[in-house]
């Protein structure tokens, strides 16, 4: 079967005709919705942790001290966490983000987010922290088993939590049952 030029033209016209016939004006509203990035959602999780975890008073240097979220390693949040901080308080205290450089003390915050670039250093962080009431949050597969209290991982496209309850209890942090109910409880390796 060979297409004659006239049949060819018909196909071309059919294509264009279809396009034109289907072209009702003003249908631009069905644009693609934008995806939410992993770290926007993870930032929202960090904010929620301030509400669902109880810190002992000893966790704060002063009664009016800020609630500090520290990040060790590469900051994957971009500016998202700063926006989160601007928008709220935690336990009646202003929120603050600290990006920690190597050598900075890591115990001066209430939540410590351990970036993926620091996975190899978790053990030394934990040693430094001892039983200080700092909620440690991981970002890589296996971080909870490595000893971080909460790990945020992406499973099938959604962010899920793993909680190392034993670690949290050792540091006198009380994680609400609501959070525990939504998380997978894991134990330290070894």
């Amino acid at each position: 079967m060979i297409l004659t030029p006239s049949i060819r033209r018909l196909f071309c016209l059919a294509g264009l005709g279809l396009a034109l016939a289907l072209d009702p004006p003003g249908l631009g509203l069905a644009a693609d919705p934008q995806a939410v990035s992993e770290y926007q959602v993870k930032a929202a999780f960090l904010y929620n942790f301030t509400k669902f975890v109880e810190w002992p008073n000893s966790a704060f240097a002063a009664t009016n001290a800020a609630f500090v979220i520290g990040i060790v390693g590469n900051d994957p949040f971009g500016g998202t966490l700063d926006e989160v901080v601007k928008s709220g308080q935690a336990h009646g205290r202003p929120l603050q983000v600290k990006r920690l450089k190597s050598g900075d003390p890591i115990g001066d915050c209430q939540i410590l987010f351990v970036s993926r670039s620091e996975t190899g250093n978790i053990e030394s962080f934990l040693q430094d922290l001892g039983q200080q009431p700092v909620l440690t949050v991981g970002d890589a597969e296996g971080d909870a088993a490595r000893g971080l209290m909460i790990n945020l991982i992406v499973v099938k496209g959604s962010v899920k939590m793993e909680i190392n309850l034993q670690r949290a209890e050792q540091s006198h942090l009380q994680i609400s049952s609501k959070l525990l109910g939504l998380a997978k409880i894991v134990e330290s390796e070894k």
């Binding site: 079967m1 060979i2 297409l3 060819r8 196909f11 071309c12 059919a14 294509g15 264009l16 279809l18 396009a19 289907l22 072209d23 249908l27 631009g28 509203l29 069905a30 644009a31 693609d32 919705p33 934008q34 995806a35 939410v36 990035s37 992993e38 926007q40 959602v41 930032a43 929202a44 999780f45 929620n48 669902f52 590469n74 994957p76 971009g78 998202t80 926006e83 989160v84 928008s87 709220g88 993926r116 670039s117 996975t119 190899g120 890589a140 597969e141 296996g142 088993a145 991982i153 992406v154 499973v155 099938k156 496209g157 959604s158 962010v159 899920k160 939590m161 959070l179 939504l182 390796e189």
Partner: protein, 736 residues
């Protein structure tokens, strides 16, 4: 108003799953992360649920600020606020564009891989897959005529015998008839392509036989990302019509589908002497894809396609005349090809680092060439599992079965000695990725063991080492072995290549030149040594350099000569093929992307390919080993300039220089129809205007400088090389 890139992406933000390339036969995971415009219907669904509960409507609207929103705006205050007001359960149900651990960045893969994204394809104006493949470094694409392409990686290229494994969505499109890909028959709606992954170098450890010089894997988007109507209509001076119509819908929150139909019609090219080459063609295709994920952990995909193409072709038909003398006459015929396929896949995730995939497909094809008829049925079944062993090892293992049943009818020109070859392939493979020093040093060891009834057992081991001193740098090295198994023609074929008329007194009778396959022809072997370095010294600048040495053994060459003819009316010179060619090729590829400004990106690719001669065994007529061409250009340079003139206008320029190919168009023994292809320089250009967010009009000019030029010589069954001419093409793409 500041002009911002519509899709500003450095190659290092192209996070994708190296698993797909190195471990999986396909699109098991959606993994390109560099398409900010990607619709996320799951999110719509999640937010839709929330909205129906009667709260958060303003918040939800804030996440979807409307059609004018841009990828850059995603991290907007509004959407972050919206997320902060959600409950934990809602947060946990939101689908995110993940950059999860297992999805390594391209910058960390221990192989020479590059990814052609949907954005790259769109902005190149390509309407065929082979044209889009020109965008990757180290790929040589030669258009033989209007409907034939030779696509190779690192040499040994041919229309029918490229040393390259090719797949669409995990389904092999490599034809065992000629060990190549019928590119004219392989198509998808260009706008539905998620990405094309190009691996240079063997991928046999996981992909098996024929992942020899490289692997090309075309991955389409999941149905959830192709929702709504797409109309793409184009017409040009060479391609008269390129029409695609696709509709994507949703059955429920977990089930999405799309159906499409497309039609392409190409005009003919001219030969060097200006006469028409008689190579006009058209093709129609329809298909569907259904994705169902009943749980977070399970993903079912069913997809299928049906196509038919018809191409004009003039070929040399050889026959014996009334005096029993061989004569050759060009005859106009039609290349007809009809086929269909159906694929099913189930993926179950046990955890982020452990999953299981079961895939099966059927592929049927009817090929009606003027010189050969073939019906082929392929059935394929694959399983693979991935899991963690301890904290430092990730194991992938699996197995597969393939049945290839073919029915061949030859002619005098192309004869077949077995009319129904059947091939059964069993394989098992295993691979262990070991973190020698977590985050810094990874060693990957693996092998595939395969059995086929042509050549028996094949063993394809590989070892790769990747060192990532910083997250912006990777150094890698690998050694791997691959084989190319014989094609049906190489085992059972008999080709009468030429009939040379009598020229008395020196040659009193005509000579018939014949090449025959050889049932003992064994697999061709390759051991590849590769090293590579990737770095991103600046946020906006990245480099990728690779070097390779490919050591070949048992490449196809002339093994023996015999005379099949008992008639006195002519002399027949018969060449029997064998695994006689040995040698090495070496070279490398350089690729760099520079985001000059927010609205201007430059990409440059360079590739070099040298050979030590690929020597044949000493010829028993001359006693001298003959050298063989690598059938690919020695050097290629290409540049891509992508400018966002305004947020609605794109302007792209794609100049390329393709060096001389010493010989192309292999017959069976190297040089019978071979001829050099001179170097050429040409460029493509594209101007696109998004009239509204849903309508894009574009004008594409191809081969604008030098017109016309040859890109590749035809193989034996086509008559003459054609010239690739300057062309223009206009297109309207409308989505709603």
């Amino acid at each position: 108003m500041p002009i911002r890139s519509r899709n500003r992406v450095s190659p290092y933000s192209r996070r994708y799953d190296i698993m797909n390339i190195i471990r999986n036969d396909g699109p098991i995971r959606l993994s390109m992360k560099n398409e900010p415009s990607t619709p996320k219907r799951e999110l719509t669904a999640a937010v839709g649920k929330i909205c129906r509960k009667g709260f958060l409507l303003p918040a939800a609207l804030a996440i979807f600020p409307g059609p004018a929103s841009r990828a850059d705006d995603v991290t907007s205050t509004n959407s972050t606020h919206a997320l902060l007001t959600m409950s934990l359960e809602q947060l946990m149900s939101i689908k995110v564009t993940s950059v999860s651990k297992k999805e390594e960045t391209l910058s960390q893969s221990a192989a020479a891989v590059s990814v052609i994204t949907q954005d790259d394809i769109r902005r190149s104006g390509s309407t065929t897959i082979p044209d889009a493949l020109r965008l990757a470094p180290g790929v040589d694409v030669g258009r033989v005529d209007s409907h034939e392409w030779a696509v190779g990686v690192r040499g040994l290229n041919d229309t029918f015998a490229s040393s390259l494994l090719t797949l669409i969505d995990g389904r092999s499109i490599y034809s065992p008839l000629f060990s190549g890909t019928f590119w004219q028959a392989q198509d998808v709606v260009m706008e539905d392509i998620d990405r094309i992954e190009v691996v240079r170098g063997p991928g046999a450890t996981l992909w098996g036989a024929n992942a020899f010089n490289g692997v090309i894997s075309i991955v389409t988007k999941p149905a959830s990302e192709t929702q709504g109507v797409l109309v793409s209509s184009g017409s040009g001076s060479e391609e008269y019509a390129a029409e695609s119509l696709r509709y994507g819908g949703k059955i429920d929150e977990n089930t999405f589908y799309r159906v499409y139909a497309k039609f392409n019609d190409w005009g003919g090219f001219d030969r060097a002497d200006g006469t028409p080459a008689n190579d006009e063609w058209w093709k129609m295709q329809t298909g569907f894809r259904l994705d169902h994920s009943p749980t977070d952990a399970d993903q079912f995909t069913v997809q299928g396609d049906l196509y038919h193409l018809s191409a004009d072709q003039t070929v040399s038909i050889i026959s014996l005349d009334s005096q029993n003398q061989p004569v050759s006459n060009p005859e106009a015929g039609i290349w007809q090809q009809t086929g269909g396929n159906m694929l099913g896949r189930w993926t179950h995730a046990f955890s982020e680092k452990s999953d299981f995939t079961l895939q099966t497909y059927y592929d049927g094809e009817q090929l009606g060439l003027p010189l050969l008829q073939q019906t082929r049925n392929t059935l394929d079944l694959d399983v693979r599992q991935r899991f963690q062993l301890g904290s430092r090892q990730e194991i992938v293992w699996g197995g597969g079965y393939r049945l290839n049943a073919s029915d061949l009818t030859g002619t005098y020109t192309v004869g077949v000695r077995d009319s129904s070859p059947q091939e059964q392939i069993y394989n098992v493979f295993g691979q262990d990725e070991i973190s020698l020093v977590p985050e810094y040093l990874r060693l990957t060891l693996g092998t595939k063991i395969e059995h086929n009834n042509f050549t028996g057992f094949e063993w394809e081991p590989g070892a790769r080492l990747a060192w990532t001193p910083t997250d912006k740098q990777t150094v890698w090295a690998s050694v791997s072995r691959a084989v190319r198994t014989p094609s049906e023609i190489e085992h059972y074929g008999l080709l009468n290549l030429a009939a040379i008329p009598a020229a008395p007194p020196f040659q009193p009778v005509p000579v018939l030149v014949t090449v025959t396959g050889n049932a003992n022809f064994d697999s061709e072997e390759l051991v590849a040594y590769e090293i590579g370095y990737r770095t991103q010294p600046l946020e906006r600048l990245s480099f990728d350099a690779t070097a390779f040495y490919n050591a070949y053994r048992g490449l196809r060459g002339a093994y023996d000569y015999e005379n099949l003819n008992t008639l006195p009316s002519y002399v027949q010179v018969v060449t029997v093929i064998g695994n006689t060619v040995e040698g090495g090729t070496y070279g490398g590829e350089l690729s760099s992307t520079w985001q000059v400004t927010d609205y201007w990106r430059l990409t440059a690719n360079y590739s070099l390919l040298e050979s030590d001669g690929l020597k044949d065994a000493p010829d028993n007529i001359t006693g001298e080993p003959t050298a063989n061409s690598v059938h690919a250009p020695e050097q290629q340079v290409s540049l891509r300039s992508s400018i966002d003139v305004t947020k609605d206008i794109d302007f792209d320029l794609l100049p390329r220089f393709v060096g001389r190919t010493a010989a192309s168009g292999i017959g069976f023994t190297g040089s019978s129809t071979a001829g050099a292809i001179p170097s050429y320089f040409t460029f493509d250009a594209r101007l696109a205007w998004r009239v509204t967010p849903s309508v894009e009009i574009s004008l594409v000019g191809q081969n604008l400088v030098e017109s016309p030029h040859r890109e590749f010589n035809p193989t034996f069954i086509s008559a003459q090389a054609t010239q690739i001419a300057r062309s223009v093409f206009g297109q309207l793409v409308w989505k709603f």
